[in-house]
């Protein structure tokens, strides 16, 4: 098991959000969920996550805009952002990268591989600290 981290799952698709939450919790992480971009920004302040798993197509505020807002705030400079999207065209990927996401994962994805990837990135980051 990797270092326990605080993980915020942002996705309006409940089944997939629930599953991700359960899986990360089973791995010993502390998890919170948000159903849209606005909710995400509120949870950023109250929950202070180490990692944000961010869907892109969401109501109210989409993943790209939410990512930009997070990156604008120096307090969250160390937060890892992993983008998830069912819209896997190059344009979307590029916009997400420009917004400041650290990784891009295309839906559908393997849960095990996603968890592994998040933990690996966490390890790299803590190694750099």
């Amino acid at each position: 098991m990797a270092l326990p981290a605080r993980i915020l799952i942002v996705d309006d698709e409940k089944p997939i959000a629930n599953l991700l939450a359960q899986t990360f919790e089973q791995d010993g992480h502390v998890v919170a969920s948000a159903g849209d971009g606005i909710d995400c920004m509120n949870k950023m302040a109250s929950f202070r996550p180490d990692v944000v798993v961010m869907d892109i197509m969401m109501p109210k505020l989409d993943g790209v805009e939410a990512t930009k807002l997070i990156r604008r705030n120096q307090t969250y400079a160390g937060t890892l952002i992993i983008a998830l999207s069912a819209r896997a065209d190059d344009k979307t990927r590029q916009r997400m990268q420009e917004a400041g996401a650290d990784a891009f994962v295309r839906k559908p994805f393997s849960i095990a591989r996603l968890v592994a990837r998040v933990e690996e990135m966490l390890a790299v980051r803590s190694g750099l600290r």
């Binding site: 089944p15 993943g63 790209v64 805009e65 295309r106 559908p108 849960i111």
Partner: protein, 839 residues
Amino acid sequence: MYSLLGISESLVAATSAQTAPLVLAGVGVVGFALGVLLWLQRRRRMAQARVMERILDGAARLTATRRLPEMCDSIVGMVGEIFGFERVVLYLWSDALEVFEARSSLGFEAADGTQVRERTVSRKDYDALLLAGGDHGPGQLVPEGVDGDDLWSGSASLIEELVSPDGEPRGYVRVAPVARGLGDAADDRHLLTYMLQQVAAAVDAAEVYERLANRNADLSLASEKLASLADMKANFVANVSHELRTPLTSISAYTELLQQNLTVLPPESLDEFLAVIHTESLKLTDVINDILELSRMENGRPVSARAETDLEQLVRRLEDGWKGRAADSEQNIEVVTPDHAINLHVDPVLIQQLLTHLVANALKFTPEGGRVSIHLSETGTAVRLAVEDTGIGIPEDELGAIFEKFYQVDGSATREHNGQGVGLAICHEIVTHHDGRIWAENREGGGARFQVLLPRRPAVVQPSGDPQSVLAPFEPGEFHQRMLHWISGSLGVQTVSLLQPDEHGESLEIRASIGLPESVAQGVRVRFGSGIAGRVWATGETLLIADVTRDRRVDREVSEPRYSTPSLLCVPLHVGGDVHGVLSVNNRIDGRPLDADDRLLLEALAPRVTELMTQYASWQADGRVLSELRESLRATTSVGHLRQESFVEICREICLAAARRLELSTTELGQLAFALRYYDVGMGCVPPQLLDKPEPLAHHEQLFVQRHVEAGLSILEPLRPSARARQIILHHHENWDGTGYPRGLTGDAIPAEARLLRLTDTFAALLSPRPWRSAFGLEEALTEIRQGVGRSFCPRTTSAFLAEAESRRYRIIEMQTRGADARDLARPALDRRGMVTPV
């Protein structure tokens, strides 16, 4: 030249008959005279040669000119300069208008201040001119006052044809005055012929060049469209893949987890996981079905699938299913219908799909505890279906685009729920298929409202039963349906019947009808000369009857049950000198009596109907022509129908009244009535985003919008509008000061009817709201028109128009203060094919 040779021969003959001294003296005199004559002749020949040289020079210079207007000016200039004619006009045949159009002129502008350009001469008038000449030299000498054209009064004129090298007549030059000696005139005429032969090739080339330039513009427009189509396609693929991937993500994630943890998971988790997989699989199936459905809809669906359907019952039948779904997610469903049947001739399967999609869409957007209401109601001309929700609504700037099949909220990835794109696109296809309209709006208290208007179109009854061929692209049954709906929509009437003589030619029988009970349609036989239709058949004259219950010409037994309004209009269908049928309309949808304006329009439509019916059989060999005809009928029917209740109706009335005040002839009025009805069909080709755009349009966007004029003409083409109607439509955006489009005509060069149409169009637009402004009040609108006089509008037609508008002041104000019906109908349509923004 022959005359000169003749003189010298007679001199030689005279010489031999004289005595010697006289002969000697005579020879001297004659020799001198001969010398002078020869010298004169040489001089004339040299002069002619110089003229010919100038002509050749000029013609050579012309070939360097590519632009047709410049070339026309040069030719006219050359004719004036070389031959010294005071008045010169060059006419070229216009394939689009099927008339000779004056393309350039000389000697008129200064004389009476009017412009000759864009005057037209029909083929018939031209042929009459040639006959009137009766002169068989080169060109045609037209005696003064033959054609009553004020341009050519005061002297005889000369017409010289412009024939292209391949022998095709391209146009002609008309010059005046021709008052000099015959010999001179003959020489001039030879030289003029010579000159036109020389320039014909250049004109030909310039015409080809002009056509190519137009084609080029079309092509670049088409390639622009293709590029944006490619963008849309890419978006569509991305959207569809998103729709497919989202449920797939859950399915694959949950199965992955099941595989890895099957033995350790507690049974309740297993149940939960499997339930998620099942639900998501169903969603996936829905998305796939939607996409397939959309592609099926696009390939067309036969109208024969339509049947008289009670929508009230249909909605009630679906209600339980919706309530079940809503209860699952703790939402409320409310269905409001009138407590009687609402029958409509529709495809029941498609309408059920439409309802299902709209309600599913509303439920998706409505939070728990929210409410979705379905309202079914009737207006005079349509059935209205509204689905409202209490969700978060739709961003205002996206209202117009959500029915686009390839729609994606531009640039942003925000979206509310899955499955949004395809379902609404299907709704749009279904509504279009029924020639109706669908649009979305936000409710004042929050939430969205989707509205559908389905035109009330009674079934067409065809007792004789045309053979239905499945292979035909536009089968005869549908042809008759569409044609009758076209007439009923254009006139706003509920009942239309087409009567034709039976096989013995003794009585009329109903070939097709709408709005009549089948028993009546089957049973009617009208004898030659009896009843209304029989009289029209016998006399070949239109009958407009104000009150059938009082008119003694009406056979009461047959007619009584048919009329819910007392007036009736019946026109003959002429083929050559014969009447081969009768069109009868009655029961105006708005309950008003049929009037002289309706008569004008129906008389203008009758020749179209005749032509379509006679041509239909020959067109069956060419599927492309038929499908164009179908689109044409569909586009014009929709416009005619849905504009019924907006301000356009009263504006049309004002326009025709103003035209009568200006003493236009009955034929002109008829063509104006036709143009008034259909002039804006081309608007359907302009992307709605441009029409609804609040910001000023960029130059290329303006050009795009301006294309609607020519696009409209090409939509109308299969209906074979008259040359005059085409002209009125072509020039209805010209401004008095020359700043309009498409030709930038000035003043009187713009046909008077087109000037009236310009006013009508503007006035109706001012009275209607636009996305970027509210509607003008009557006074504001009148002021706006007055201020445009001299710039956009012609002073004379404007004063006639304003006088007629003023006299309808109270009706307009009443309409403006009346309920939402008119407002809804005046709303810009969202459909880019069939529907059109009301002016």
